[in-house]
């Protein structure tokens, strides 16, 4: 029988032990009575011979090896009883621990799913991503085909890229997340199908008709898990792809944060992108290459093998339009590899640092909560000194008592953790909602896994020890005889509360750091959200148009766009409308190197300029004022000289103070000479890619003139509509209707400029919201801590205060005395906190905008708020002290 068996049958064992000993005593007593003792004496002698029955039992239990469990159960039972007896204390302690631990678990579960979890594929640790020595890690399709055909170190290797597909065939777009993957994708990852089949290399041949493999989640969501989807077409960007299978549950693709719903073979890119296909394009880099080395081949060997292939591969794939100086760089490029066990993730690179900062923040919140609970325990320990002294007098060892007090603490923190896990589940979902926006729908696997539970349990136990150990050690440092004194109140010494005060100072200091951090993040967000971006983001509706389903031959697109624009200008409620290639803060960049007449470039980088191609009325619609010159007009035609409007930075950098109007520049993109472009207007600076950027030199070209290097307008464009008044989204129904009049197969996507700008601040909003929340939480906890300690202090010193008042101290004097103590605590805490804040906030400097990490205003404002709130918390006990009735206070003694 094992000990846990015995534990199970503990009650029964206890009864049997009792019975065995009773039998012994009765037999012995019977024998003694037989020898002539009377009944009473016989029983007495038998008991004497056996010894104390409880002690014998204890030793028997010890002999059985279950004593420690008995002790633990006893401690637990006792702890539960004590905690129940003190409901107020227990509720406050568990609630603050649940908040602290829950916040930690929530952030950790996010870190876990974004950074730690490995991909749900077979042996993810073996996967290697092929990267480039000299450049970003993406490759052109010609390079991929060379790698695929020449490599011999990988048992499986694939190219992959994510892409949104539009499910709607006209009207408003409905997007799903999809991907193009080469033939060996599923085979290399070891991902199977629950229904039908996945695709193989046989499905990925140039000129293929394309197939679609659905994810399990998408199959459930969109098709209700019906088996008859096999063979049916799914329309992606208007093209039908037969569904051949559904992948196993849990497989979301290889990009963490994005759930890929539909995967198609790489060859299908030619169907989707048609005339703009990149399959033969040597200068487009859009594919990620991932492989699994053959058994027995080390990553380093696989890399070495790729390196030997590199010169030939890069030679064979040299983009013909590349400039000579860049060609040398291209030809000497090589391959590297890196592990991709946890998948690729833009989310990870974007949020890694922010998540780590948040982890530290919630760690500090937990520390503050710990200090609070420790303070509560200290106060309660003082109240329990009599009980503890009595137990020591009765023979309990100090170690045993400490163990028992720690059992109580850990039980508290485990209860807090259990509640915290629930809180975390909810909190983590909220966090994901904060991370997601209409452009980026974040999907993460937040299932509770062993790592998360282990983390929470470890945090809970550490927390329990952290806040429990000092009060337990202090609480048991007591002379047993002290408790026996008639006056039980003399037990607590004044110095004992030094620790409580230290804890409060620590809380004040830590809260100050968090509040300063919150102040910096909030200021950053406010500055970014309210800065003058160079355009007026209110009242502008953005309409993204996709013509591919609408059967517009390239040569008719320009006329089609003009018709749409003319039609949109007549929609009721539209004040002005325009068309452009890019929209502000739209996420993309179109840049180009220039040759500027009369300017000598310091470097290639020096003359790289951002571009956009816009219609007349663009600046008017966006609210960007002209500084000089004119807008585009009907005289800017394909036949007329090329015209451009530039921004102020462009003028300042390349022309200084001289007049830019009439000056010219040329593109310097590849071989050949481009025609000159004349500057006809200058507009105010406006943000292009992000609100944080220093506005780059920008040139706007007329959409009515050809885009150099491009035969015809692309099938994608954007319209901007400024509403007369009211919400721009109100225009959507009439815009839809008017576009249907032009062509019912045009695909549309709507957003407002305000939303687009707003969503570029997702990370800043997340940090500002969370640091604000945790800063407030820290302030609240520290305030409760301060209040608790001062209230306890005042209660403990009733006698002293009573005597002072009886001897003539005035109310005001007592008030000032207590407030003085509070002020000292706060002041020391603030000084420590300011030093800590100065030392730590520089780590968040890269997240800030328009404010320095040691901003004196933020520091003093944070300190002021904290001091004010803390002083208020200290004032209540101080006032209570000053209103003591000396007679009552003394009588209690």
């Amino acid at each position: 029988m094992r000990w846990w068996h015995r534990l199970w049958r503990r009650k029964r064992m206890e009864e049997l032990l009792e019975k065995e000993l009773r039998f012994h005593l009765e037999q012995h007593a019977g024998d003694l009575i037989g020898q002539g003792y009377d009944a009473e004496e016989g029983r007495r002698r038998a008991r004497l011979a056996l010894g104390g029955p409880e002690q014998v039992k204890e030793e028997c239990r010890d002999a059985r090896g279950t004593q420690w469990i008995d002790n633990l159960l006893q401690d637990l039972r006792y702890a539960v009883r004590t905690l129940r007896g003190n409901r107020g204390f227990t509720a406050v302690a568990i609630a603050s621990l649940a908040l602290g631990i829950g916040a930690n678990t929530a952030i950790f579960s996010l870190i876990d799913s974004v950074m730690l979890k490995t991909l749900p594929v077979s042996h993810p640790e073996q996967l290697l991503q092929v990267t480039r020595l000299k450049d970003r890690d993406s490759f052109s399709n010609p390079i991929w085909e060379q790698v695929r055909d020449r490599q011999d170190a990988f048992s499986g290797i694939f190219a992959h890229t994510g892409r949104r597909f539009n499910l709607a065939s006209g009207g408003e777009a409905r997007y799903v997340q999809g991907s193009f993957a080469s033939g060996q994708f599923f085979e290399t990852l070891g991902v199977g199908a629950v229904l039908g089949r996945t695709f193989t290399s046989a499905d990925d041949k140039r000129g293929c008709a394309g197939v679609g493999v659905l994810s399990y989640d998408f199959w459930q969501r969109a098709y209700g898990g019906r088996a008859d989807v096999l063979g049916k077409p799914i329309f992606l960007d208007g093209h039908p792809f037969p569904i051949v299978g559904v992948t196993q549950p849990g497989f979301f693709g290889i990009e963490v944060g994005i759930a890929t719903d539909v995967t198609t073979p790489l060859c299908a890119e030619a169907i989707i992108r048609a005339e703009n296909s990149w399959l033969n394009e040597r200068s487009a880099r859009w594919l990620w290459i991932i492989g699994r080395p053959k058994p027995g081949i080390l990553p380093s060997q696989a890399t070495a093998r790729l390196k030997t292939l590199a010169p030939e591969i890069f030679k064979a794939t040299l983009p013909p339009t590349m400039r000579a100086d860049r060609q040398a760089d291209y030809l000497t490029d090589s391959f590297e590899t890196k592990s991709v066990a946890s998948g690729r993730s833009n989310l990870r690179s974007q949020y890694r640092q922010a998540l780590l900062i948040l982890m530290v923040v919630v760690g500090v919140v937990l520390l503050i909560a710990c200090a609070n609970v420790a303070n509560l325990l200290l106060a309660r320990g003082a109240a329990r000194q009599r009980e503890i002294a009595i137990r020591m007098a009765l023979g309990s060892g100090r170690a045993r008592l400490i163990r028992q007090l720690l059992t109580e603490s850990i039980l508290l923190s485990l209860c807090g953790a259990a509640l915290g896990v629930l809180f975390a589940q909810w909190g983590a979902r909220l966090l994901i909602a904060l991370l997601s926006n209409t452009r980026n729908h974040v999907v993460l696997d937040l299932a509770i896994d062993t790592r998360m539970l282990a983390f929470t349990a470890a945090v809970a136990i550490l927390t329990g020890l952290l806040f429990g150990i000092a009060p337990a050690v202090r609480g048991t440092r007591v002379q047993p005889q002290a408790a026996m004194k008639a006056n039980g109140r003399g037990v607590i010494e004044g110095s004992r509360f030094g620790l409580g005060k230290v804890l409060v100072m620590l809380q004040v200091a830590l809260s100050l750091v968090l509040i300063v951090g919150a102040g910096l993040m909030l200021t950053t967000f406010r500055k970014l959200a309210s800065l003058d971006a160079g355009f007026d983001r209110g009242h502008v509706l953005l309409v993204a148009v996709d013509l591919r389903n609408a059967n517009y031959p390239p040569q008719r697109r320009a006329a089609g766009y003009q018709r749409m624009l003319d039609r949109l200008r007549t929609v009721p409620g539209v004040r002005s409308a325009s068309r452009s290639e890019m929209t502000p803060i739209g996420g993309g960049v179109w840049d180009s190197e220039l040759l500027i007449d009369g300017y000598t470039a310091k470097s290639h980088q020096d003359v790289i300029v951002n571009f956009n191609q816009v219609s007349a009325g663009y600046f008017d619609t966006l609210g960007t004022p002209f500084v000089a010159g004119r807008d585009f007009n009907q005289h800017d035609t394909p036949q007329s000289p090329q015209a451009a409007i530039v921004n102020e930075t462009f003028v300042k950098r390349y022309f200084g103070a001289s007049n830019p109007l009439g000056r010219t520049f040329r593109l310097n993109n590849g071989p050949g000479v481009f025609p000159p472009v004349e500057i006809v207007g200058v507009v105010k600076d406006a943000k292009y890619e992000s609100l944080r950027e220093d506005i780059p030199p920008t040139a706007y070209r007329a959409e009515s003139q050809d885009r150099p290097g491009m035969a015809a307008p692309s099938p994608f464009t954007n319209f901007e509509l400024r509403s007369v008044a009211g919400a721009p989204a109100d225009l959507i129904p009439s815009v839809k209707a008017s576009m249907e009049e032009v062509n019912r197969d045009i695909t549309l996507q709507f957003t407002t400029l305000a939303t687009q700008v707003d969503e570029s601040l997702t990370r800043e909003r997340l940090l500002a919201t969370l640091s604000g929340f945790f800063g407030a939480l820290a302030l609240l906890l520290a305030t409760i801590g301060l209040y608790g300690v001062m209230a306890y202090n005042v209660a403990r010193r009733r006698n002293e205060i009573g005597i002072r008042m009886a001897l003539g101290a005035e109310q005001a004097r007592v008030l000032l005395m207590v407030l003085g103590e509070v002020a000292l605590l706060i002041a020391i805490g603030l000084v420590i906190g300011l030093c800590a804040a100065l030392a730590t906030t520089r780590f968040v400097a890269s997240f800030l905008y328009g404010i320095k990490s040691n901003d004196p205003w933020t520091l003093s404002l944070a300190a002021g708020v904290l001091a004010l709130v803390a002083a208020l918390a200290g004032f209540l006990p101080a006032r209570r002290a000053s209103r003591l009735d000396p007679m009552t206070a003394l009588r209690e003694e």
Partner: protein
Amino acid sequence: MTAKSDLPQGTLDLLILKVVALGPVHGYAIAQRLQQVSRDVVQVPQGSLYPALHRLENRDLLAADWKGTETGREAKFYRLTRKGRAQLEAETASWRRLTEAVSLILKLSEGGAE
């Protein structure tokens, strides 16, 4: 009354195993028998008898059943397990070797004194 001796460390287990080896027996009877057989020289502290029994049971040297006594009461009867019998033999042999060696040494010192 003759002088009583304390048991040397570890010998209580051996004595219990020996008594139990004679047939299933309850705790009180073990105490009685040890006292009788040793003619009251060995005074078994009853307080340590039961912990010893439980320890031996826990080590699977003894097994126990609840059975009726001659007087009709239920009592816990201990018996030797196979492992217990092996242990008894090993410990008996080792005890013999020890006592022989001790008595040899004692004789030697008596001889020296003559």
